[in-house]
Each structure stands twice: as C-alpha cells, then as structure tokens.
C-alpha cells in the first residue's frame, strides 16, 4: 500500500500546484515546445526559418487529440493486460494465496 499512497500524494501535490499556479495569474498552458519556437524567434531576431514543413499535419486540435489518446489507449491496454494476466497466473500457481490480496 505504501507505494500507492506515495504515488497518490505526489499526484495530489502535482495537481494542487497546477491549481495554485492556475489561480495566480494568466497562463496559456501552451506546450514547452511551442514556447521554444518563440524563443528561437527572439534569439535569432526572426532570421530562422524552418526549412522543412511536416508532410501531414493533423487538420485540427481535435484530430491531434485523437492520435494522442489512441497512443495512450494502446499503451494502457497492453499494460493492463499484462498486469491482469499475471495476477491471475500467480493466483493459479500458488493456490494458497488465492482470495488473499497478493499485495
């Protein structure tokens, strides 16, 4: 349980920090990479031009979200399958533990 509690505590602090920062001023919550693009403009006085345009860009933010969530879903599915499969397997292999929480 200790590991779960620590993780939950860290996530709460992380989320709390977000709420606090969000309430203390105007923030865009833009990507750090797009901020870096802005910095490139400042540092070089606007002389830097990207020389290569992406061949295909997601037509909208919605579609971009689709691919990001798809990515997370694929990963989550695999991790969940692995954990579930092995939890059951360890129960079957050591029947003494069955019913008790393996944690």
């Amino acid at each position: 349980m200790k590991g779960e509690l620590i993780t939950a505590a860290v996530l709460i602090v992380f989320f709390g920090a977000f709420l606090y920062v969000n309430s203390t001023g105007d923030h865009e919550w833009s990507g750090a990479d797009s901020q870096a693009e802005g910095a490139i403009g400042e540092l070089t006085g606007g002389s830097y031009e990207p020389w290569f345009e992406p061949i295909w860009e997601p037509p909208s933010g919605e579609i971009e979200n689709l691919f990001f969530s798809l990515q997370a879903a694929i990963g989550g599915l695999i991790i969940g399958y692995f954990l579930g499969y092995n939890r059951r397997r360890s129960e079957v292999e050591s029947p003494a533990k069955r019913g008790t929480n393996a944690r």
Partner: protein, 224 residues
C-alpha cells in the same frame, strides 16, 4: 532543425538504434519469456509520452517513459522503443517531425536512457532501496532528455547575441524547468509499476539481471 545538425544527429542515432534492434532480436529469440515485459516497457513509453501535463511554469510538456525500458533492457533497446513512439508522433501528429527524428531519438532514446540506466546501476550498487533507484533513474532519464534537447537546439540555433551558450540558457529555462515536476511524477509512477512487476514477474527481472536474488526476496517480503 537546420543543416548540418539534423544529419549529424541521424548519423549518431542510427547505429545505436540498429544495435538496439539487433539486441532486441537476440533477446526475444533466446528468452521468449521476456517478450511480455518488452511489450509492457514499450507500452509504458507509449502512455507516458502521450500525456501532455501542465507544469508549475504555466506550460505543458510530456514525460518520456524511457526510464523503465532502460532499467529492464538497457539503453539500446530503450532507443528502439523511443524511436517507435517518435515515429508515430512524427507521422500522425506532426509532433517532433521527420527531419528532427535523429535529434529526438538521440535525446529521448539514447541520452536519457543511458543516464537512467547508469543512475539505476549506480544507486543499486549502493544497496539503497530499489524503488528509490527506479525513481531516480526514471526522473533523471526524463530531465536529461530535455537538457539534451536544449543543448541540441542551442547548437543548431545559436543566439545572434551570445551564441550557443545564450541559446542553451534560454532553451533549458523553458524545457528543463517545466520538466522538473513532470520528472518527479514520472519517477514515482515508474516506481509503482516497477513494484507490480516485481510482484508478478520478479523471475524475469532476475533473469534479466535487473535485480539480485537477495534484493528481490527482500522486496517480496516487504510487500508480502
């Protein structure tokens, strides 16, 4: 990313990824039982790198997720996983991009995992709690990825005033600062997943020499 830097990063990354592929192939052939763990480590990179999290700096960034793969399979196989994710994001999301792929693979797939792997091995040698080693390895892999990204950008795009050094400070201020809280979260989450894997497939971790028999038994007892 301007010429000649994108070619340089490609040239540096390609051999590492090729070696990683070869290592992965050999591993799967010789030890089939590691395959599910390989899938989980890859899936972990997939999930974490898809999450854009808000940070205390008022901007968003992604964790990398490569620390766990590096701990389990070494930095070279982690390079292969990072490459897969970066290709996915470059092709479907125009996120990262194809010409910068070499540079991104280098920072996320090579530099980060090497630092994470070294941190894990180093801390484990000290005999400290393995979860702390995992936490540090994952966090450091995350943060060093973004430091290397800043360095790459600084080299490629020196400031008109102050050159690459000034650029590095500007980029590191954006990336690394945003990344610190995310790296902490990534470290904690990685340690938690590591705990589950220890409980469920400690045998495979033993076989991969991720952890010694004594340390594994101690962990299992503690969570017993």
């Amino acid at each position: 990313m301007p010429h000649p830097w994108w070619e340089i990063w490609f040239a540096l990354s390609a051999p590492a990824v090729a070696y990683g592929l070869w290592r992965m192939n050999a591993l799967v052939k010789e030890r089939r039982e590691t395959l599910p763990l390989l899938a989980v480590a890859g899936a972990f990179v997939f999930v974490l790198s898809s999450l854009k999290l808000p940070s205390v700096t008022g901007s968003c960034s992604h964790p990398t997720g490569t620390g766990m793969a590096a701990i389990f399979f070494g930095p070279w196989i982690a390079s292969v996983m990072a490459t897969i994710v970066l290709l996915y994001q470059a092709i479907f999301l125009a996120h990262g991009g194809l010409t910068t792929l070499g540079a991104n693979v280098f920072s996320m797939g090579i530099a980060g995992p090497i630092i994470g792997y070294a941190a894990y091995k180093g801390v484990m040698r000290l005999g400290i709690n393995p979860y702390i080693a995992v936490f540090l390895a994952a966090s450091l892999a995350d943060i060093s990825t973004y430091l290397v990204t800043s360095l790459q950008l600084a080299l490629a795009i020196p400031a008109t005033v102050g050159g690459s050094f000034a650029s590095f400070r500007a980029f590191a201020a954006i990336f690394a600062l945003t990344q610190v809280p995310l790296a902490i979260v990534e470290g904690v989450v990685t340690a938690l997943i590591f705990k589950y894997i220890v409980q469920l497939r400690g045998d495979v971790l033993l076989e991969l020499k991720v952890i010694s028999k004594g340390a594994l038994n101690k962990l299992l007892e503690a969570s017993g």
